[in-house]
Assembly symmetry: C2
Homo-oligomer: 403 residues x 2
């Protein structure tokens, strides 16, 4: 019910998450420092710390000697509280990463398949196999696991048309839960990259962040006022399928003129083909190899490659300006193909100039556009950890639509 | 500080606003009904009602006899607590509306000027004159006023280039406050239309609403998770200056290809001129008259007018699809030129079809697109009322950047 949702931000659970995130950001801290860092009263922080200690989410580290007065007790996240495991799943590719309960990465394994893995039983066994491999590498067992998170484009919804994701998972999530005997949360990559920025990245210093992911597909995770924007059905952030050019290039989603058709890797390849038809890099190729080959061509002074990168930067700048116009963020983080030396040097200056010139009014005056290494896997691990806190009753009201 | 802002949603003040809005929506209510409507506990509602009674924001209406048990006390907003006054200000046009403290409209006055009113003293005296006129019509005096709200494009920021707004106001707000001797809040129209939907419109039934305003300029007020989205510098919602067509029509903001250049009234006029150069309606005209003349031409079967309206509907559908892709709202409300019989009949069906076809995945499956009479003036009055609740200490932490 709408009215009830309006009050769903229970301050206790929200404050507990704020304290956990502040402690994660600080590494180690004290009650006083946490009160200062979060803006909560010392009394509130002390109550929250008590709750978190009770469930062993955090641990005391012994006396900390400050400048004056008696020593206070140090606090840290309790990394050994257990393990959370993140999965990234495509029809021919699977990645599993084990994290400790302070979101430290312990191990990661990848699996590929020549043929698409589409049958529900096959997908489930593929996941189970990767889980056991990753746990083995991390010297952990299933009993240690607090939660499992699975990154799926589109989350629990029908995905954007033509995504290469086994649909079996969201049709058979209960079977996967039964097979694993573990809490499983499914969410989409855009919510995960936003959550990663909130817990580990720009969200630590700013309440208004847009985390832009640039790969074969592109999208935006949105943090507004310190909260991940999910929208009515968890589908917010599909900036890649907003318009760059009315009746422009056909996008793989079926729409004409989407941002993704210009700044996704296949779109950049298409730009190269328009600039230099017959260019050796313009053919049908593996997209991530294309990115590094294009960078090498730029380095060697290939004019078509340089023109392609520059035109793509103008497209990207224009598309980011739309995010600035609509959302007015303080920080835009870029991950994916932007995180390469060639992009940093050639793309970012054009992008920044274009956004500053085109954004309405002063909307971009204080905006930072920066490269970020944070990834969706960290975000889905944080979401799984949050889900665990909900299971034990520490986080009472936060709704994750994709659960 | 960013971390402190993360905790700024004080549940008490948030809940008080939720109760006030629920009472406004219900007209009259009881503590039990308010608890049910808001999802708050009866104890919390009782405490909040006590606070609101103390400051006379609400009033008791005597016993209400329910089905069984003893009668309970009826509650309503205390309309006679005082008056709030909203202003809409352009350089040649000024409107003032007096509301009671339950947001009922009591009087409205308009003033026009042949020459732009730009000098600070002139603007201030213009406002004072309109205030006295509007108060006279409402049989109210300055002593009754709880707060004054002024709608200004761009709010306290430098506005979008080429807006026709006297810049004197935000440079001389302190002088205006001194001259009036009243609390004055300034905000921009997009935040005001979002607030109007939150208090009086679709925000009553949905937590995710985009309120689209279609006039000479166009923009979107955004409600996400029951909160008005302001962005880092209160500049969010400038959807009108996001891209429809890369390197498309020059917009009055200086950017090429903005949504506004296609679906603002001058943009529609331009579409007509493209379809039928030399058409009698395609010249330089007063824009609001153009809207009704175009509607009349459509009624009379003018093929160029019909083609213009249909192409504009496709543009609007495409631009709204971008909002759906990025924000995934449950409701989009349209106000302005869409609220005319010709638009309802010819524009809305095309718009709905286009959004459903082009929105990514299932993002638009449950979306309602509807006409709404709610206006920014009601929103700025609600903001002024909220500001009054803040001044008396009932709303403690809500930050209105444009104050
Ligand atoms: Zn697309
Ligand atoms: Zn513009």
């Amino acid at each position: 019910m709408a009215a009830a949702r309006l009050t769903s931000r229970d301050i206790r659970s929200e404050s507990r998450l704020v304290v956990v995130r502040a402690l994660l950001a600080a590494g180690g801290s004290t009650r006083n420092e946490l009160a200062e860092a979060t803006g909560l009263s010392l009394g509130t922080v002390s109550t929250i710390v008590q709750d978190l200690l009770k469930y062993e989410i955090i641990a005391e580290t012994g006396p900390v000697h400050g400048g004056i007065g008696r020593p206070t007790t140090g606090l840290r996240l309790n990394a050994d509280r257990g393990r959370v495991v993140g999965f990234y799943l495509e029809d021919r590719y699977l990645e599993a990463t084990v994290f400790d309960a302070a979101l430290g990465e312990l191990s990661t394994v990848e699996a590929t398949s020549e043929e698409p893995v589409e049958d529900a039983d096959d997908v489930i066994e593929w996941i189970v196999g990767a889980l056991d491999d990753a746990l083995g590498k991390a010297k952990a067992s299933r009993e240690d696991i607090l939660g499992v998170g699975i990154l799926l484009p589109g989350g629990m919804q029908r995905p954007v048309k033509a995504e290469t994701v086994p649909s079996a998972i969201w049709l058979h999530l209960d079977r996967l839960r039964d097979r694993l005997g573990l809490p499983v949360v499914v969410d989409n990559p855009l919510k995960a990259i936003a959550t990663a920025q909130l817990w580990l990245g720009a969200g630590r210093r700013s309440a208004n962040v847009v985390a832009v992911s640039l790969g074969i597909g592109v999208g935006a995770g949105i943090i507004q006022d310190g909260v991940v924007v999910r929208g009515a059905t968890n589908a917010a952030g599909e900036w890649g399928h907003s318009l760059l050019a009315f009746e422009g290039r056909r996008c793989r989603c079926g729409r004409d003129g989407c941002v993704e058709a210009y700044v996704g890797l296949p779109g950049i390849q298409r730009t190269l083909a328009e600039i230099a038809p017959g260019h050796p890099l313009a053919g049908d190729r593996d997209d991530w190899t294309f990115a590094s080959d294009l960078a090498a061509a730029v380095e060697s002074g290939d004019p078509a490659a340089i023109a392609t990168v520059e035109r793509s930067a103008h497209y990207l700048g224009a598309a980011l300006t739309d995010l600035v116009a609509i959302l007015n963020p303080e920080v835009i983080t870029l991950s994916g193909w932007a995180d390469a030396p060639a992009s940093r040097e050639r793309v970012l200056p054009i992008v920044r100039q274009r956004v500053l010139a085109d954004a309405p009014g002063d909307a971009a005056a204080g905006l930072a556009i920066e490269i970020s290494p944070r990834c969706g896997m960290e975000g889905i691990a944080a979401i799984a950890l949050e889900r665990f806190m909900r299971d034990v009753g520490l986080v009472t009201t936060r709704v994750i639509p994709a659960l």
